[in-house]
């Protein structure tokens, strides 16, 4: 009698060694050379376009301290020197930037020609990088350390715009054949990208000739862990030193002192459809606003890791609160009388469905009938922009890539705005936003911005719910992590994993 049963087993054993090639390559942390341990970081969003410097990966590169632009945002949200040491406005379309002495990671000098070429390439990218959408600029080298940048339309916010990670300066080597742009070894930041393993990990080494001095960590091992619980667990098991974006639900599981909070420019708001349905009536919009108790959201749903919504701009813009004025021209609340509304939201941020359910109950108490619809974000946004929902709960970063708070007002609340979820078209709002856009002086621009915000809130097209704080999980020995309200930096020269090893 033949016995055949063991054969599959033996075959399996033979195949097993073949399959061991299927494990992910582990970053070996042996690269720690002279001084400073390597830093292990868990990031939430994997590179989606293979570290293209023009899309979302640009933010990733900037957070890891790989790339830099001509300017950067300081804590007040104003432009501060980075690769450009100073700048001056020549006329309303043209600016002159003076470069500092710096080197690219490939050893070449940061010259005006290289900067001009990098900006020109960014302007030609398809689709165009977010900071340049709706704007165009030309850059030309002037002398041995200056660059002149000219915009097609007057742009008082150009230095802010240039702080965008999408306008990072890379050396000539980065722009090879075709339209692929590689930031590997071609940027200027304190860390150099040396290796990336698909969408799961990236290895960075310290760039020893960085103009801002030697970084404390000898390198960075970044892992991309999309699941929030998994990311938090990585920190708790000591697999990583820093875990970004710890979800609210997991914050309580971190040991005391390991969760650092920063107010962000991210505002969760309820957008009401002003074009059709129940909320076309300003009275009902006012009724909805009056019905909502935002303190319950911040305190309970966000477990205190958020501030109650005061306006479109949160406490991350530290000047906003002092300049805020009362919303103008609000309508009187009307009795809803059992009007049915649909409320849409997405579940990519786990708190949003919870917020929507709390809102549902609050609105129902006020006399609305509410139907809830929750989908994955890319599957609901198109419908929301077309006005298929009466109300939509979304989290919006109010400091877009342009670095200019006015641009979010323009894109979200003006007649031809490209992300106008409330389908608002109000001439007084448009006028107020336009006025802010055209104001150059910083203080006056801020005043005009807040006046436009008051106009928008006056229409009740948007009900600000909470201003989120971002929670960064930090291991016990880590010092010097950068908690940036604009989420553009995380690791800098001063970040290091203490005295271990």
């Amino acid at each position: 009698m033949r016995s055949v049963r063991p054969r599959p087993l033996i075959a399996g054993l033979l195949v097993a060694p073949l399959l061991t090639g299927c494990f992910a390559a582990k970053n070996d942390s042996s690269g720690g050379t002279a001084g400073g341990a390597r830093l292990k970081v868990a990031l939430a969003f994997p590179p989606s376009e293979n570290f293209s410097p023009y899309g979302a990966d640009a933010t990733l590169l900037s957070r890891l301290g790989v790339t830099e632009g001509l300017t950067k945002l300081d804590a007040n949200g104003t432009a501060a020197p980075s690769l450009a040491a100073s700048w001056q406005q020549e006329n309303d379309r043209s600016w002159l930037f003076t470069l500092r002495q710096a080197d690219f990671q490939d050893g070449s000098r940061v010259t005006p020609a290289a900067v001009a070429s990098a900006l020109t390439h960014a302007g030609k990218a398809k689709p165009v990088t977010a900071a340049l959408s709706g704007a165009s600029l030309t850059a030309e080298p002037v002398g041995k350390d200056r660059v002149r940048i000219t915009t097609a339309d007057p742009d008082p916010a150009l230095p802010l715009r240039l702080s965008s990670p999408g306008l990072a300066v890379l050396s000539a080597k980065a722009y090879g054949k075709g339209d692929k742009v590689s930031p590997v070894g071609t940027a200027t930041g304190p860390f150099e990208l040396t290796k990336s393993t698909g969408a799961s990990a990236a290895t960075l080494d310290r760039f020893d000739d960085y103009w801002g001095g030697l970084a404390r960590a000898s390198g960075v091992d970044a892992r991309f862990i999309a699941d929030g619980t998994a990311r938090t667990n990585a920190l708790r098991t000591g697999d990583v030193d820093i875990a970004e974006a710890v979800p609210v639900s997991q914050a309580a599981s971190l040991d005391k002192g390991h969760a650092r909070e920063t107010a962000t420019a991210r505002t969760t708001a309820l957008q009401l459809n002003t074009e059709k349905g129940a909320f076309k009536d300003p009275g009902l919009r006012a009724a909805a606003r009056a019905a909502i108790d935002t303190s319950a959201l911040a305190k309970d749903v966000y477990e205190g890791h958020a501030d109650t919504g005061k306006g479109i701009f949160g406490p991350a813009l530290n000047w906003a609160d002092g300049k805020r004025t009362e919303p103008k021209g609000r309508a009187k609340p009307k009795a809803p009388g059992g009007q049915t509304i649909t409320l849409g939201t997405y579940d990519n941020r786990p708190e949003l469905p919870e917020v929507a359910q709390v809102l549902k109950q609050q609105l129902q108490k006020a006399g609305f009938k509410v139907k809830l619809e929750v989908r994955e974000s890319s599957r609901i946004e198109g419908d929301a922009l077309e006005g298929k929902f009466d109300a939509f709960v979304g989290a919006r970063n109010t400091m877009l890539d342009t670095g200019d708070p006015v641009s979010v007002l323009a894109s979200d609340y003006t007649c031809d705005g490209s992300y106008n979820l409330s389908l608002l078209c109000d001439s007084s709002v448009d006028k107020a936003v336009e006025k802010a856009e055209n104001t150059a002086d910083t203080a006056k621009r801020q005043d005009a911005t807040m006046a436009a915000e008051a106009r928008i809130l006056g229409t009740d097209a948007v009900v600000p719910l909470v201003h989120q704080r971002i929670i960064t999980g930090v291991g016990g020995s880590v010092r010097g992590e950068i908690l940036d309200p604009y989420e553009r930096t995380l690791i800098g020269t001063g970040t290091g994993a203490g005295t271990r090893r």
Binding site: C22, A24, E49, S133, A230, A296, D300, G382
Partner: protein, 677 residues
């Protein structure tokens, strides 16, 4: 006589009627030859006279031709299915009218404002303006040259990344297979041991313990293992995929429920094998129990092999939750991401890889089944594989059912929707018996109110799946490739395809789940039928002149229905879970509905801080599973108790002549023939 020949051909597929073949089949082991040869000779006495050499030659020739015919169309059918699937994926954005430019832009950068010029740039870049047929043609053309195109999101070549994640998934799957086999072994160890020592008679079975494990959602096991063993105890790494020790926890989470299910099914079959004449003969001869047990396994496993194959292939593309929790770069996550972002080249390549894998695995498992029972199948010389004694009715279903009913009734008296955010995540107390969830809602109320909707839908889908599975299982040549292909499709993709074709109506999630739920049942049916058709009593029936329909109605269906129904019941909880998984795409139940699958999903982030909110619905599902399984074995009533006792004492599996009481007619004749000297 002609009629008999027809029947013979049907069953054996050109079987020979030589004495050697019969002996080979009847005795799985030479050592048992004494008893087995008796069985063989008995068989020949009963049915052998019907053949002569001429018809045997004719049958052989026909069998060969049929094999050729069957191989060709089956292959063609497979190719047609795979092509249809790939075309469907290629048309998906156009069917569902979801702009791929928008989803691709969003996948590249979640924060990006979808300005018209950005969308237009993406469209030009991807060539979307040329329409789906052009894109599909281009992709197919590239595929012929060994190039599966570039990802629409990253612009990277698709083939290396898909191959890499397929490798990871295959490795994970083999780990899960090991765990599943061990679990299945543990589940049926008791039966195996008792049976080999011939002490099965009158023992109570179907305790439901395995059913509880089978009803455990994978992500729950995974969360618990990652938190307890990975984080708190630190025994094993909980994150990543860097070496063998990283495989343990994910393999356990995946293998445990599947192993419990398979073990449970195996446990159902084993007593039947032990009741066969060869086993008795072996025992009488003093063959060691271990050896008998091995042959009993060999007798039963082929019926489950197709299901094991399905489980493995389904896992390769469908282990998304576990991949996410343990951060494993597998194919499940790759295809899910591609499906959500409508990254068609990656989705098509991933699906193609899975379909190919399904075809290969299906083929291998069929060959394995053929090798284990081949000669017996060919010669139509299998004894029937059914437990001679219906399982003793037990009180357990009453207990489980009562518990479940009690929970539901208690819950129905409360409000499942009343939010109180101040009282969130509260531990069980007298006010909230099962605690509260993240929004301060009473968990007991939600479990109770969700029961009706969940159960009605899950039972409805399971019933449909049972009917469809049995019917399609009757035509294995048609349904085999179909079920291989369907099973390979990741569940989210199935949901998207159904939503694309049928629109996102209220019935869509039910259709999507039902469309794949019949697959394991059909595979089970086909495997059982294959064996059943080759049984002695059926040959006898045919020799008595029974027609096809009579065989089907009086012998095949009754024999297959019981185990398959039990299988369907075992899968009831997983149907409820599958429904919940589609909620993610905006299909299925929407919050704040207290549907059980949704309860599990929304409380998952709080697994560590408020385990009660997750455990309550999970326990309810597990109770449902246990109830379904134990109830299928008969429910205890005062009357049945007396009957059960009598049977348990008087007649064991050791006395097959009386076992025929269960189903008289032809089987009686066969068994009579078997025991005749």
């Amino acid at each position: 006589m002609r009629k008999t020949e027809d029947g013979g051909r049907d069953a054996g597929g050109g079987g020979r009627s030589t004495a050697g073949g019969t002996r080979d089949a009847g005795s799985d082991e030479r050592n048992t030859a004494g008893g087995a040869r008796d069985a063989g000779s008995g068989w020949r006495k009963a049915a052998g006279g019907a053949r002569d050499a001429r018809s045997s030659r004719r049958r052989t020739a026909r069998g060969v031709r049929r094999l050729g015919r069957a191989g060709g169309p089956a292959l063609l059918w497979r190719v047609v299915l795979a092509t249809a699937l790939l075309c469907l994926i290629g048309l998906l954005p156009w069917l569902s009218r979801t702009d791929p430019a928008l989803t691709v832009l969003k996948a590249r950068s979640a924060e990006r404002t979808p300005a018209p010029e950005a969308l237009a740039a993406v469209r030009t870049q991807l060539g979307l303006d040329h329409g789906p047929l052009h894109l599909l043609g281009q992709w197919t053309g590239g595929l012929l040259r060994g190039d599966a195109g570039q990802s629409w999101i990253s612009g990277e070549a698709v083939l290396p990344s898909v191959a890499q994640s397929l490798g990871v998934s295959l490795l994970l799957m083999s780990g899960a297979l090991v765990v599943a086999v061990l679990t299945a072994g543990a589940v049926c160890a008791r039966t195996l041991w008792l049976g080999s020592r011939r002490r099965l008679s009158g023992r109570r079975r179907a305790r439901g313990g395995a059913a509880i494990f089978a009803a455990l959602p994978e992500f729950l096991t995974a969360s618990v293992l990652a938190t307890v063993i990975g984080v708190h105890l630190g025994w094993l790494p909980a994150l990543g995929w860097y070496g063998p020790q990283w495989m343990v926890l994910p393999s356990v989470s995946l293998g445990l429920p599947a192993g419990a299910l398979l073990g449970r099914l195996l446990d159902d079959l084993l007593p039947g094998a032990y009741a066969e004449p060869w086993a008795r003969a072996a025992a009488a001869r003093g063959i060691p129990g271990g050896r008998v047990a091995r042959q009993a396994l060999r007798r039963c496993v082929p019926a489950l092999l197709p299901n094991l194959g399905l489980f493995l292939v389904g896992l390769t593309g469908g282990a998304v939750a576990v991949e996410q929790i343990f951060d494993i770069p597998g194919l499940g996550r790759t295809t899910l991401q591609a499906a959500v972002a409508q990254d068609l080249p990656v989705l098509q390549a991933g699906t193609l890889a899975l379909v190919l894998l399904a075809a290969v695995a299906g083929g291998l498992f069929r060959i394995a089944a053929r090798l284990t029972t081949g000669p017996a199948l060919r010669d139509g010389a299998l004894p029937t594989l059914h437990s001679p004694v219906p399982p003793a009715p037990s009180r357990l279903p009453l207990l489980y059912g009562g518990l479940l009913l009690g929970v539901i009734l208690l819950g129905l008296a409360r409000d499942p929707l009343a939010l109180d955010t101040a009282a969130r995540l509260q531990a069980p107390s007298s006010a909230h018996l099962f605690g509260t969830d993240a929004l301060g809602r009473d968990v007991l109320a939600r479990v109770g109110h969700g029961a009706l909707h969940t159960l009605a839908l899950a039972v409805g889908i399971s019933a449909f799946a049972l009917v469809a599975g049995v019917l399609l299982g009757l035509v294995p040549r048609f349904s085999g490739p179909l079920l291989d292909t369907l099973n390979a499709i990741p569940p989210t993709l199935a949901g998207l395809v159904v939503a694309g074709v049928a629109g996102s109506g209220a019935a869509t999630p039910a259709i999507a789940v039902a469309a794949v739920a019949w697959v394991p049942l059909a595979a089970h049916t086909a495997a059982l039928l294959l064996q059943e058709r080759a049984t002695l009593h059926l040959t006898a029936t045919r020799s008595l002149g029974a027609g096809r329909f009579h065989q089907l109605r009086r012998h095949l269906l009754p024999a297959v229905l019981v185990p398959v129904t039990r299988h369907a019941l075992l899968r009831l909880p997983s149907v409820a879970l599958a429904l919940a998984a589609l909620g993610f795409l905006g299909l299925g139940a929407q919050p704040p509905s207290p549907e059980w699958g949704l309860l599990l999903a929304e409380n998952q982030p709080y697994a560590e801080r408020a385990p009660w909110a997750l455990l309550a619905p999970a326990a309810a599902l597990a109770l449902l599973g246990a109830l379904a399984v134990t109830a299928a074995g008969g429910v205890w009533t005062p009357r049945s108790s007396r009957r059960g006792l009598g049977r348990g004492r008087g007649l064991g599996p050791d006395e097959p002549p009386r076992a025929a009481e269960a189903r008289p007619a032809a089987r009686e004749l066969v068994t009579a023939g078997t025991t005749a000297r």
